[in-house]
């Protein structure tokens, strides 16, 4: 029995009717001008009334979604007089965040001779890394090169990426794949060892490496296991998010104050160097969008880094993944991996017709889906009022052969199977969902920042992806810059002679808020979303 109600099944029959014809049809991709037009008209980043500039700090004027601006302009959890001599733990390198970037940083810091403490908000590994399905890019085939990868990255990012960061990303990519394999990650391979590699949106070569559709989970659990094997040098403290960075009296990183989520006790973690790897902010639900992000993704890192004076960038640009689940209601917003399109499934409207090239860069693809629903009225609307377009997954087995879906997309088969939908036989209804923070804290290629001793890695950072990230470059970013940050932090820590720790920057921050008359009523970082029901 189908998990789709009758009115949706009617549209599915149209999709089935056109399928054999569409298999031979190629929908043309857009020119750069056409891309710009659809973005300006339909991408959420371009809706002026939902964006504003922040009013205080070194990046005052930087535009971003209202919800994020409110959080960045928030009041600290602790006051400047907080006693830093109380409950103290000392370490060489403090890593804030237990996702893929934090785990990579921990391993490299340890290998470079540092004692490491890693604090994380929820469990170690509760991170967007764990949920990334599609894969990791690396130019390692003979017809590909880091230079071609570079062009794809910078074109997908609208030519605004920071060149040195892109260089680091593409040049380290094959090294990172090798490193992951040495740690024990299982990549998809042919029997002769050749990596299975596919296209992603905006790639000109097939360079998407995968581990079925558990690519991020496989990276995360393997790195986490390795961190645990080095428990003598790396201490992991779970359920203890950082709430504020601490500097020394010379303005250098000196640690952070963390909160035990269960006892709400604060704890000063004194360190010679700090790696900020806190991830993104999808749980702020910009513009009311649902999100693919994990429960703790509340933009903590940009809040903390900004308060100590590190510039932010590119935060006017959020990534709405084109294919979030739009049905059933229980999983609305959850990720349907881009690999589904990489394997050959076309997006089609309720009439069963193609309307966009399947693998445009994500922002363009997402804006095209919104246009098809909002402007052209060709979206399929569910019984609860959620619009969407079809992703014709059954095409995959016609193209790739029987069994290809179960082999390549076991997580997707399971996800929809739980709700009575067999994606090998029926298409998937999708609509854009808030996925990724393209921008964030500004950093250099060695992961350093304007604050000596503070290093940045992963989604919390800004500049690598310009104004739009391509699929498969986030798992790459977290490992490339996680490793760089860990190495840089350990090297820095060996030389560091930290002065007296202080929270003086909070006095300045509070004064700036007051002088600007800013009071958003938010205490930040907010740490967790609140989904409890309001009567």
């Amino acid at each position: 029995m189908s998990g789709y109600p009758p009115e949706m099944q009617e549209s599915i029959r149209r999709v089935e009717t056109t399928r054999m014809r569409r298999l031979k049809e190629r929908f043309p991709s857009m020119s750069l001008e056409e891309r710009e037009q659809v973005l300006e008209a339909f991408h959420p980043d371009y809706i002026e009334e939902n964006m504003r500039g922040i009013r205080v700090g070194v990046s005052a004027g930087q535009r971003m979604p209202l919800e994020l601006a409110d959080v960045i302009e928030g009041r600290p959890h602790i006051d400047p007089g907080f006693d830093l001599s109380g409950h103290v733990t000392e370490t060489d390198v403090l890593i804030i965040g237990g996702g893929g970037a934090g785990a990579s940083a921990a391993l490299l810091a340890q290998e470079n001779g540092a004692r490491v403490t890693l604090v994380t908000k929820l469990r170690f590994g509760d991170a967007n890394t764990m949920m990334a399905q599609g894969g990791i890019q690396a130019a390692d085939r003979p017809n590909d090169s880091p230079a071609i990868h570079y062009l794809d990255v910078i074109g997908g990012g609208h030519f605004t990426n920071v060149p040195e960061l892109v260089e680091a990303l593409v040049m380290d990519a094959p090294l990172v794949v090798k490193w992951l394999e040495d740690v024990g990650m299982m990549f998809d391979k042919q029997p002769d060892g050749t990596m299975v590699e596919r296209h992603g949106g905006g790639t000109s070569r097939m360079r998407m490496h995968s581990a079925r559709d558990y690519s991020g989970a496989e990276i995360m659990r393997t790195l986490r296991d390795e961190v645990r094997n080095r428990g003598e040098d790396i201490t992991v403290i779970e359920f203890s998010p950082a709430v504020e960075l601490v500097l020394d009296d010379q303005g250098r990183a000196a640690g952070a104050v963390a909160m035990n989520l269960e006892t709400e006790a604060y704890h000063f973690l004194k360190a010679k160097a700090v790696v900020l790897a806190t991830g993104g902010g999808g749980r702020l639900h910009y513009q009311g969008f649902p999100t693919t992000n994990h429960h703790g993704a509340t933009a903590d890192g940009v809040v903390m880094a900004y308060r100590v004076g590190v510039p932010l960038g590119y935060l006017e640009s959020m990534q709405y993944h084109p294919t979030g689940a739009a049905f059933p209601e229980q999983i609305v917003g959850l990720l349907v991996t881009e690999k589904v399109r990489g394997l050959g499934a076309q997006p089609v409207n309720k009439l069963g017709e193609q309307f966009v090239y399947p693998l445009e860069p994500r922002d363009v693809e997402a804006a095209s889906f919104i246009r098809e629903c909002k402007e052209r009225g060709n979206g399929m609307v569910t019984p609860t009022g959620q619009p969407g377009v079809w992703l014709d997954s059954p095409m995959i087995e016609i193209i790739q052969g029987p069994g290809a879906i179960k082999e390549n997309l076991p997580a997707m088969v399971r996800q929809f199977g739980r709700f009575g939908i067999d994606i090998t036989k029926e298409p998937i209804l999708v609509y854009p969902t808030l996925h990724y923070q393209n921008g964030g804290v500004r950093l250099r290629a060695d992961a350093s920042t304007d604050i000596p001793g503070l290093f940045i890695a992963g989604e919390v950072s800004g500049g690598v992806h310009g104004h739009n990230r391509l699929m498969g470059n986030s798992l790459l970013e977290i490992t490339v810059f996680g490793r760089r940050a860990g190495r840089s932090a350990a090297q820095y820590a060996h030389q560091a002679k930290p002065g007296k720790p202080t929270l003086a920057h909070l006095e300045i921050w509070n004064r700036e808020l007051e002088e600007a008359g800013v009071d958003t009523g938010v205490t930040s970082p907010i740490l967790l979303p609140d989904y409890t029901r309001r009567e």
């Binding site: 509760d126 949920m131 030519f159 296209h199 079925r212 917003g333 394997l343 399971r414 609140d530």
Partner: protein, 258 residues
């Protein structure tokens, strides 16, 4: 502030952190028992959202909310039904008279090892996890697995020293720990399985020659000049290069034409 912003996104009631959940119109609520206490909740919710509906602000027992992290392992019974069921709270829809117990943490034995010093052999499995050979083959683990993994089968492969099969069959594991919670032989199956996968990935998977060649080229700085040149280009020049890219044809029906 909230009202207009809802328009672009989904119509789902589970959106903004400040919005809170709205009661669906004309829906008959059903009773569920969270840690033994009865709450009336809408029948369309997942267990996780039902707990939030009931007023829980979750810290433990919540992670990715998408079925990948294993944080929300849940055991439940239905009133009058003697069977014990298992699921992920973020992926399982509530039913009337469900008695729910979350298992956000379950202690499990984990060996510490240096992966670079191990050999991919049966002996390594048995010496790292001697308890592997205590498996009774009862299948309680398989019944408990929310990923529908045949845990008993991969444990059987492990007892035969078949690392490749153990790695393959356990691949979709999210390490939620329900198997370990149910095991009468006190195994921590998922920790043994990740050892098998890492041994496979590092030692047994066929090597990629093209990757090795590329690493040697990078070592020899073959690409440095190309990338340095791109870094120095103006935006106009980059646009030109970008538009002139040739696109590798994909297998199957999808091919880019520009």
């Amino acid at each position: 502030m909230e009202t207009e912003k809802q328009s672009e996104g989904a119509a789902s009631h589970d959106t903004g952190p400040t919005a809170g959940m709205q009661a669906p119109v004309d829906v008959e609520l059903i009773p569920v028992y969270i840690m033994g206490k009865c709450y009336m909740v809408p029948p369309s919710l997942t267990i996780m959202k039902a707990m939030e509906w009931a007023g829980y602000r979750l810290i433990r027992g919540v992670g990715c909310r998408g079925g990948f992290c294993g944080a929300c392992a849940t055991a439940y019974r239905i009133l009058g039904d003697p069977k014990l069921y298992f699921g992920l709270a973020c992926q399982t829809v509530v039913q009337p008279d469900m008695y729910l117990a979350q298992i956000p943490f379950f202690p499990a034995q984990r060996a510490s090892y240096d992966i670079t010093q191990l050999e991919p052999t049966a002996t390594t499995l048995f010496s790292t996890y001697p308890e592997l050979l205590r498996c009774l083959g009862c299948g309680a683990c398989t019944k408990a697995c929310p990923q529908e993994i045949d845990v008993r089968a991969y444990m059987a492969a492990g007892m035969k020293g078949d690392i490749a099969t153990m790695a393959d069959l356990s691949f979709d594991c999210i390490m939620c720990g329900l198997c370990a919670a149910r095991c009468p032989a006190e195994e921590a199956q998922y920790n043994i399985a990740i050892l098998a996968r890492r041994l496979y990935g590092r030692y047994l998977a066929p090597r990629s020659e093209h990757l090795q060649e590329r690493l040697e080229e990078i070592e020899a700085r073959v690409f440095d000049a190309q990338v340095a040149e791109l870094k120095g280009l103006s935006e106009e020049e980059l646009v030109e290069r970008y538009q002139a890219r040739d696109i590798e044809p994909a297998e199957g029906g999808v091919q880019k034409e520009d």
